[in-house]
Symmetry: C2
Subunit: 329 residues, 2 copies
């Protein structure tokens, strides 16, 4: 395993300490248990928006804590859910009279631990489940996975909370954005989880994984390596079938790298995806291209489309000041 680390046991701690030091103007790290919260507490009665999940997907979620987005994030060990006490401590630290909204990616461990924390929490709370990955059918046994669309839910709900929306409104908004969002990914390589020390799955030089998640699991199918246009055709068609965006409807097009894919390839994918929807008359009103929801060092990318009405566009455009998403501030 080739990684720049000291030891598997200290990796998360050392990395979180570095993150906190590098962004001390925006966030604070709590140790034992780990969570990241804003340096400056939000105004009283604002809904506290909290997310979290296994580490290894940075900048998701810690990179999105700050004014206009999350109040706190709970990083678990690599690809491991945060614990209930971690989530509870984060919620208690940032709850400010407006209740707590958890934004949770749909994985069994995350769902369970956020549920336990919600039960233990002594204040008004609600949860938005994100399940934007259309690689599998809606009827899949454990439901669809939450992937790169999570950032969009966090940004829009975060903006609404900042502007004073109450808990019920934030929850309804999150559910609405999730329903309007679909993602699908492709991988050219596996990632290497530090504790495992080798790639999670084997893949030959001429193959790729279509419909891949963000935890180094195999995709929906292993197929021969195809051209960028064909890759984008696969991903965009699956997303388009799900969301069926109408002519002139404004959408946000997000191309997300999994960690080891150069920006040059991500912008190429963006270009081809933009062409796909422009040919169908869809209005690509907003764009986001880069490594935002990663899978450690996996090569590959995902495409996310989100249908945004005027209200959602306004929330997307609202000022945000976090380590890894920043505008209007």
């Amino acid at each position: 395993m080739k990684k720049i680390i000291n030891s598997i046991d200290t990796l998360l701690d050392e990395s979180l300490n570095g993150f906190a030091k590098a962004h001390s103007d925006i966030i604070l790290l709590n140790n034992q248990p780990h969570f990241i919260k804003r340096t400056k507490p939000a105004q009283a009665r604002k809904v506290a928006v909290i997310s979290g999940g296994g580490s290894g997907h940075e900048p998701l979620h810690i990179g999105f804590v700050g004014s206009g987005m999350l109040d706190a994030a709970c990083p678990g060990q690599v690809f491991t859910s945060p614990t209930p006490d971690q989530i509870l401590a984060a919620a208690q630290a940032v709850e400010n009279g407006g209740g707590v909204l958890f934004i949770v990616k749909n994985y069994a461990g995350d769902v369970m631990n956020f549920e336990i924390a919600a039960e233990m929490l002594d204040c008004q709370n609600a949860t938005v489940l994100v399940n934007d990955d259309v690689s599998f059918p809606k009827t899949h046994s454990t439901g669809r996975r939450g992937v790169a669309g999570t950032l969009i839910v966090e940004k829009i709900v975060g903006a609404a909370a900042e502007q004073g929306a109450d808990l019920a409104a934030c929850k309804a908004l999150g559910v609405r954005v999730n329903l309007a969002t679909a993602s699908m990914g492709v991988a050219l390589s596996s990632c290497t989880v530090p504790a495992l020390g080798r790639p999670t799955f084997a893949i030959s030089d001429t193959e790729m994984e279509m419909g891949v998640g963000i935890h180094g699991e195999r995709g929906r199918e292993t197929i021969p390596l195809i051209s960028a246009t064909e890759i984008v055709g696969h991903l965009a068609a699956a997303i388009n079938d799900e969301l069926k965006p109408q002519k002139n409807q404004p959408v946000l097009l997000h191309v997300n790298g999994f960690g080891a894919t150069p920006l040059m390839e991500l912008y190429l994918v963006y270009e081809l995806a933009a062409q796909f929807w422009q040919q169908r008359g869809v209005n690509i009103a907003r764009s986001l291209v880069g490594n935002y929801t990663t899978s450690i060092d996996m090569a590959g990318c995902s495409i996310t489309l989100s249908i945004l009405d005027e209200e959602l566009l306004r929330y997307w455009d609202a000022p945000v000041n976090t380590a890894n998403l920043r505008w209007g501030c």
Copy 2:
């Protein structure tokens, strides 16, 4: 070769089109020849700050075009200098009565082509050469390479130009920042140049390249894979010997990923580097961590230190609104 591309011949065009489409609020792409310029022209008599170089280092330089930083950037083919006509066309497009400042990384091809363009240019112009890589001694035959410190020169000179500094002042400032900046990098893997189709150099699973550049060339030495603390010790010592920052002196600490290194590892490197200089009483006043000067899909990172006085800190903090560096706007 595993890449998400259609063909080597169309990669750059398709990617630049995607970049331009995704960031059409900030920049415009000119074709034949290629350059990226701001959507909104700068005010009259502002010095036009222009950079460029081979593609494959994104977001450098195209991602730094916009208010408060570059006026234009000239992307060459992958790891290939932009042509003189490309540079000349960019300069003529953005020159606005204040003259042109070229910021050029020290590579023979870049230096030559920017020089030719400067000679052909029918207006006042000057050049700042960036050579921040301390992997090789100052006496190295072709001089030291320009690497991740280039971003810092571009940001600070860009801010000064925006605030009305004239050409001589911008050039002097760029020279000053370059002298106050030192970088060194390490690679765990080679990159794969699309036109070559295979890794540029072979490296075993237990080795690393110390003192590596950003073009897939071998480093100063191939050594056994060591711990993160030892890696940072090597890099930081070389940089520290060069710059000799004083106690309490404010510095900018920049940890740059080469493209395939997870943020988690970059923040770990940042933490260790911060400890290195904090132990020496140096004041880490500003930080930047992420993939900014990449080498396609190379695994590894570089550390850059820049000694900043109050004036330079003010320019670093000044508003910037580009695709990949944005604050205060």
